[in-house]
């Protein structure tokens, strides 16, 4: 049981390049989330998904796209990377159940855009 995994762990991009971050969870969770973490700003929600085939915008969605073709995977895409997207990206998942409020986080992807 690996929990939530993220690939890659580190990446350096040049401005304008594209990339996809992969998040996978093996806990059969319905809800999945993508956050970015910047110094002094906590975690901010980029996009989220409440089930296979569904996605929705969070607090800071501009410049990102997501897809959830399979329940266990949630992909975050950057079509044309910008230096402002330099950040640490975290994926999280949780069950839909009322009594299970824990979000389980992956180890993060550190992205630098030059």
């Amino acid at each position: 049981n690996a929990g939530v995994t993220q690939t890659p762990k580190f990446r350096v991009l040049k401005t304008g390049q594209s990339m996809t971050l992969l998040c996978a969870q093996d806990m059969n969770h319905e809800y999945m989330y993508w956050y970015r973490q910047d110094p002094g700003m906590g975690l901010r929600l980029i996009h989220y998904s409440v089930g296979e085939g569904t996605t929705a915008k969070g607090e800071v969605p501009d410049g990102y796209n997501v897809s959830r073709l399979k329940k266990q995977n949630f992909l975050l895409g950057l079509e044309s990377a910008a230096p402002s997207q330099t950040s640490v990206y975290f994926c999280a998942s949780r069950s839909r159940g009322e009594g299970t409020d824990t979000q389980y986080f992956g180890p993060g992807t550190r992205l630098t855009v030059l």
Binding site: V4, Y31, Y33, Y35, G40, M41, G42, L43, R44, L45, Y48, V50, A56, G58, E59, F90, A92, R94, R96, G97, E98, D101, T102, Q103, F105, G106, P107, G108
Partner: protein, 116 residues
Amino acid sequence: TQLLEQSPQFLSIQEGENLTVYCNSSSVFSSLQWYRQEPGEGPVLLVTVVTGGEVKKLKRLTFQFGDARKDSSLHITAAQPGDTGLYLCAGAWGHAGGTSYGKLTFGQGTILTVHP
């Protein structure tokens, strides 16, 4: 947009001292969570408080939810070097099974360093 103000942003103390971290908002939350994050890892949930006035204890850590469910505090007694890390509060509104979908609003975080 619900906002959470967390303070202080940095805490540097000696082993054995006590400390309190605060989390305040102008909004009412249905629940509030506290996470701890180690360098190079994702946040890990410490506790969830749901009822106004609720107090929960986790060994030397005491968590309190304000009566109006707009603020919370984390108190650590006799801090140890192993307590060093980033502490984050996160508020949820509505119910996960409803249209809030378990979304969280995070505070800015408190970086705690406990010196031996």
